[in-house]
């Protein structure tokens, strides 16, 4: 059932119109990733008590938010066709599914606990919790990035 869906996606041959489409989508995926990671890391570093420590967490998070969301949209919009082009290989790859599960966990963390923590006043934030969440956020998103890179090699 799921496999036939992946076969159907590959059959669409989303990259058939040009040999530059695949590499082009890939490059946009990477630039989106850097934008997303920059916006993510500067807030996580701040939660860990590093980086922009002279600014309130809320202010750093508010400044980073449009780039976090924008970067993520860029990643999804380019990631989906990249996956569709080689869908049956992705389906068979353990690393692809691992990346998707970690991505789900990372999204859940980012839009629940981390979202709430980065909107609190600095004075009422539970610091040990904030540090644990920031560290987990870095580990999860870096694992997603590593997973994407390793699909071809593992």
């Amino acid at each position: 059932m799921l496999l036939s869906f992946f076969r159907w996606m590959e059959g669409l041959a989303v990259y058939r119109s040009s040999i530059y489409l695949g590499p082009g989508v890939n490059l946009v995926h990477l630039v989106s990733m850097c934008t997303f990671m920059g916006a993510l890391l500067m807030v996580d570093l701040r939660l860990l008590g590093a980086g922009l420590t002279t600014q309130p967490v809320r202010s750093v998070a508010r400044g980073a938010q449009p780039w976090l969301i924008g970067g993520f949209i860029g990643l999804v919009v380019t990631g989906i066709p990249a996956m569709m082009a080689t869908a049956t290989m992705q389906y068979a790859s353990k690393v692809f599914w691992f990346k998707m599960y970690v991505l789900a966990a990372a999204l859940l963390l980012t839009f629940t606990v981390r979202w709430k923590l980065t909107r609190q006043e600095d004075s009422i934030r539970n610091q040990p919790l904030a540090k644990a969440v920031a560290l987990l956020s870095i580990v999860l998103w870096m694992t997603v990035a590593a997973g994407g890179r390793l699909i071809m090699y593992l």
């Binding site: 490059l27 990477l30 990671m37 600014q55 390793l150």
Partner: protein, 176 residues
């Protein structure tokens, strides 16, 4: 200029201790170091982009420019160091492969030096007067140009680096 010069040097480098080992007898080496290169790039380029967007006057407008410059610098440097070391090891393992890659030469000899020159030029000229425009949402014209150029040049470095993986503009040689 094509084929590129110094072929003998790159062939010699491929015979150095460790180079052949990494190339032929360490199957997980390439994927591992490529991943380290990409993850350190996330740290370096991610934070550089955030700094550049502030210089352009489009992001983090509530944070003084000097704070962004000074406080993010150690992390950008950490990213740059890990990125450089992993990149050098990747080159060390397959010197002849990269010698035959047009995009590799453009990345290293044009894009990267231009990105560094822009960074140094900004740091030693426009940035000296930062105290006068530190909290301005829209930094002066020269600072916005430096920020915009930095984004364009570093993204160019990234793109040429990624394009090395494709077989365009490539001389294939078998050296073991």
């Amino acid at each position: 200029m094509w084929p590129p010069p110094f072929r003998d040097f790159f062939v010699w480098a491929s015979t150095l201790p460790g180079s052949q080992y990494l190339r032929e007898d360490a199957p997980s080496f390439f994927g591992t170091f490529l991943t380290v290169h990409v993850l350190s790039m996330c740290l370096f380029l991610g934070l550089v982009l955030m700094m550049d967007l502030r210089l352009l006057g489009v992001a983090h407008l509530h944070t003084p420019v000097s704070q962004i410059q000074r406080r993010l610098f150690p992390w950008q440097l950490l990213g740059a160091i890990v990125m450089s070391i992993s990149g050098l090891v990747l080159l060390y393992a397959q010197p002849v492969l990269y010698w035959g890659k047009g995009f590799f030469w453009v990345k290293m000899l044009i894009a990267l030096p231009l990105a560094m020159a822009n960074l140094m030029l900004f740091h030693f000229t426009t940035y000296r007067s930062v105290s006068r425009w530190d909290t301005a949402p829209k930094p002066p014209f020269a600072a916005r140009v430096a920020g915009g150029l930095s984004i364009v040049l570093w993204v160019t470095v990234l793109c040429f680096g990624r394009l090395v993986a494709y077989d365009w503009w490539t001389i294939v040689e078998n050296v073991s």
